[in-house]
């Protein structure tokens, strides 16, 4: 065990993955010599050579096109998109290509060896284009897996799982936590399975569900609620596709209430899918409407970021509303 922040945990997972397979490559804008604008790939070019850890030209569609080809050839392709806000030029390569590669070819070919890493999320005064949480855009795309870690430990174990998984995976890294989340992380290899939610703390009155950086917020809200005598069960979804309906449904069956919180705009965010599924699965157990505390349906703002974000206070009032329904 060592104390690591999330960037170090990610760097460690990448290091292990590079040593594991001679064809594994890490690439993206500025990831080479410089080690990435957040320094997640720091030191790796020196260790594995410029031919396996390298800068690409500034073209996200090219990065993903290249990555699809590399992965199709059997090489673990670990592509970085500098900010999740800039993943959209690669949308076609991800949604029409990566996601459908295996299906369309009858598994003659696949890009299972593809992993996309990208820093996402707000709270860093980044405005419209350094704050987005685009997970829901991809959640509507069969063929992709989507994973989001909530802390350094989870980041290492989940990223290792993503790279080893034989499907294209997008790993969303909550950049607000890059240096803020510090904790004990094994230096050796370990894996946290994809597709399993984690009950972070148990409770009886309401289930709070989130992922990534938003976990901090709902945990904070759960603390505040506790002081008001409300017992919250807190769940980290961790994996958005596939997602762990069973764990969530079990919890809601117990608590009778569900609150989902994410930073992305509420409309058609992944909270919508969870609500739609859980109202079906737990219809007879629900004691109040499923509540979503999410970003407003606007682009991500700057000066009024504080007003915009689904903070603990907002979550708390929604908890109370739900319990008092």
């Amino acid at each position: 065990m060592a104390q690591m922040n999330m960037l170090q945990a990610i760097n460690s997972a990448l290091d292990i993955s590079m040593s594991e397979h001679p064809l594994a490559c890490i690439f993206g804008e500025d990831v080479g010599y410089f080690g990435g604008v957040f320094r997640a790939t720091s030191g790796l070019q020196e260790k594995y050579g410029k031919h396996r850890v390298f800068n690409t030209p500034l073209t996200e569609q090219g990065i993903l096109g290249f990555a699809n080809g590399l992965a199709a050839a059997g090489a673990p392709a670990i592509a970085e998109i500098q900010f999740a806000d800039y993943i959209f030029p690669a949308f076609d390569q991800i949604v029409n290509e990566s996601a459908k590669f295996r299906y369309r070819s009858g598994n003659e070919f696949n890009v299972g060896k593809l992993t996309i890493r990208t820093p996402y999320g707000g709270g860093i005064a980044g405005g419209l284009y350094h704050s987005q949480s685009p997970e829901a855009y991809f959640a509507h795309t069969p063929g992709l897996k989507l994973v989001v870690p909530r802390n350094a430990y989870q980041a290492k174990g989940l990223l290792r799982a993503c790279i080893k998984d034989d499907n294209p995976v997008i790993f969303f890294e909550p950049k607000r936590l890059y240096r803020a989340s510090i904790g004990d992380v094994p230096e050796d290899d370990f894996i946290i399975p994809i597709g399993k939610a984690e009950v972070v703390s148990e409770g009886s009155d309401i289930t709070l569900l989130a992922w990534g950086a938003q976990m901090e917020i709902i945990e904070q809200a759960a603390e505040m609620a506790k002081e008001e005598g409300i017992s919250c069960e807190v769940i980290d979804l961790r994996s958005i596709q596939p997602w762990d309906v069973e764990t969530v449904a079990k919890s809601v069956t117990k608590t009778g209430r569900l609150l989902i919180s994410h930073e992305a705009p509420v409309t058609c965010g992944f909270g919508a899918e969870i609500a739609a599924t859980i109202q079906q699965e737990c219809f007879l157990h629900l004691e109040s409407p499923i509540s979503r505390v999410c970003g407003l349906d606007t682009p991500y703002p700057l000066a009024l970021e504080k007003e915009y974000i689904p903070d603990a206070l907002k979550v708390l009032s929604a908890i109370k509303q739900s319990v008092q329904f």
């Binding site: 001679p22 064809l23 490559c25 594995y48 050579g49 410029k50 031919h51 396996r52 390298f54 690409t56 030209p57 073209t59 569609q61 090219g62 993903l64 096109g65 290249f66 990555a67 699809n68 080809g69 590399l70 992965a71 199709a72 050839a73 059997g74 090489a75 392709a77 030029p89 076609d92 390569q93 029409n96 290509e97 459908k100 590669f101 295996r102 299906y103 369309r104 070819s105 009858g106 598994n107 003659e108 070919f109 696949n110 299972g112 069969p142 063929g143 897996k145 034989d166 499907n167 597709g195 596939p242 309906v245 069973e246």
Partner: protein, 404 residues
């Protein structure tokens, strides 16, 4: 370091534009219309066996195209695309490769796949999307692919295969890179050849794919088929430069333009390109000039957008021309050739009849291959669907009878 902007260092005081006509890119041509070597042309290194295989492949594809076009008209397949006029470009370029080089094509390159040995039955199974189709009946006709033959499954979105080819080629090079100095330590075993149309070359993926190949030095041959049209859009509404070849210079990629109706010239140019790629690890851009003699696809009718005059002045047939070459060489028995072609046309008809009767894929194939193994959600959806189909067997005749 003395040149951080990575540009030519000459300086001028003359305020003049670089004119687009600065490059006047010629088209390499070796055979005349009759298949005779043009004066000054140097014959490439080609043996009889290869030459005959190129020819037979072109004949096969011409016959297949004619038959399947007709089959579509009869309503037997839903869709078809002919290679008409470009058989030489496609077949001869594939012939200049090693059989285990990767081919990543657009869609009109069935000749390359045939050259590799895709069987008539395999073509049919794909077009009839039956349970023997390697692609499990999931894509429209002509979206072939074969791992065994190193031919990437076709995908409809245009241009996407271009940066993918760069990535694939890069993987072919990695084992040959000396980790210490980043230089090639040996000649590269395999390269990737990527086909695309002059229309697809307008996509952003083209730009990304060529630029990345040049910068990262990937051993890929970009084979641009400039056939004058993207569906109804003529080349002069597609680009204003000198074809696709003129872009090679901007990427720092070695480039060659070739008469695509001249199989020998295509063979020579691709051979040269491959040689350069395996030795240097770098890309080459080849532009083939051959008119799209047919319609874009069976959904298209070119009389709506191009003139009879144009069509009648653009009639170069790569097969006839190459036949002339073979005859001159004394490599072809014309009577035998004609007999074989007759027989082939029969075989194709027979194969249609067989393939259309083969069962469609089982219902499980609806959810397999979305992931390496079906996720729980998909298993649940499949179970529900099976129950539904079983409850209404008449409504789903394709699968109802076979559900366990």
């Amino acid at each position: 370091m003395t040149n951080p902007q990575n540009v030519s260092l000459n300086v001028t005081q003359a305020l003049e534009f670089i004119d687009p006509s600065a490059l006047d890119i010629p088209t390499v041509s070796l055979l005349d219309e009759n298949g005779h070597l043009v004066k000054d042309a140097v014959e490439p290194n080609i043996d009889k066996e290869t030459a005959l295989k190129i020819y037979k492949t072109m004949r096969f594809i011409r016959a297949l195209d004619e038959r399947m076009q007709a089959a579509q008209r009869q309503g037997r397949v839903s869709f078809y695309m002919q290679c008409l006029g470009e058989e030489g470009a496609v077949t001869a370029s594939a012939a200049a490769l090693k059989d285990d080089d990767m081919i990543m094509a657009q869609y009109r390159e069935q000749a390359a796949l045939r050259y590799r040995g895709f069987s008539l039955e395999q073509f049919m199974n794909q077009m009839f999307s039956n349970e023997k189709d390697l692609g499990k009946g999931r894509q429209m006709p002509i979206h072939y692919g074969s791992k065994e033959l190193h031919y990437m499954t076709i995908s409809s979105p245009l241009g996407t295969q271009i940066p993918q080819a760069t990535g694939y080629a890069y993987s072919q090079k990695i084992p040959h890179i000396n980790a210490e100095n980043g230089e090639l330590s040996s000649e590269i075993n395999n390269i990737t050849l990527c086909y695309f149309g002059e229309g697809a070359a307008s996509e952003g993926d083209f730009h990304a794919g060529l630029n990345m190949a040049a910068v990262l030095k990937a051993p890929v041959i970009f084979f641009a088929r400039n056939n004058g049209y993207a569906i109804s859009t003529p080349a002069d509404e597609q680009f204003a430069g000198d074809g696709i070849a003129s872009r090679g210079v901007g990427y720092g990629i070695k480039t060659i333009r070739v008469d695509g109706a001249d199989a020998l010239a295509v063979y020579a140019a691709t051979q040269k390109a491959r040689q350069f790629s395996v030795e240097t690890g770098e890309p080459v851009l080849v532009e083939s000039i051959a008119y799209r003699l047919g319609a874009h696809s069976t959904s298209d009718d070119p009389t709506g957008y191009r003139s009879k005059e144009e069509e009648s002045t653009n009639t170069k047939c790569p097969i006839q021309r190459f036949k002339g070459y073979l005859l001159t060489k004394g490599w072809l028995d014309e009577a035998e050739d004609n007999a074989q072609d007759e027989a082939l046309r029969e075989q194709i008809l027979d194969a249609v009849k067989v393939a259309e009767k083969v069962a469609k894929p089982p219902i499980e194939d609806l959810v397999s291959d979305v992931y390496d193994t079906p996720i729980p959600l998909l298993e649940k959806q499949l179970e529900a669907l099976k129950a539904h189909v079983k409850a209404h067997p008449d409504a789903y005749p394709t699968t109802a009878g076979r559900i366990k």
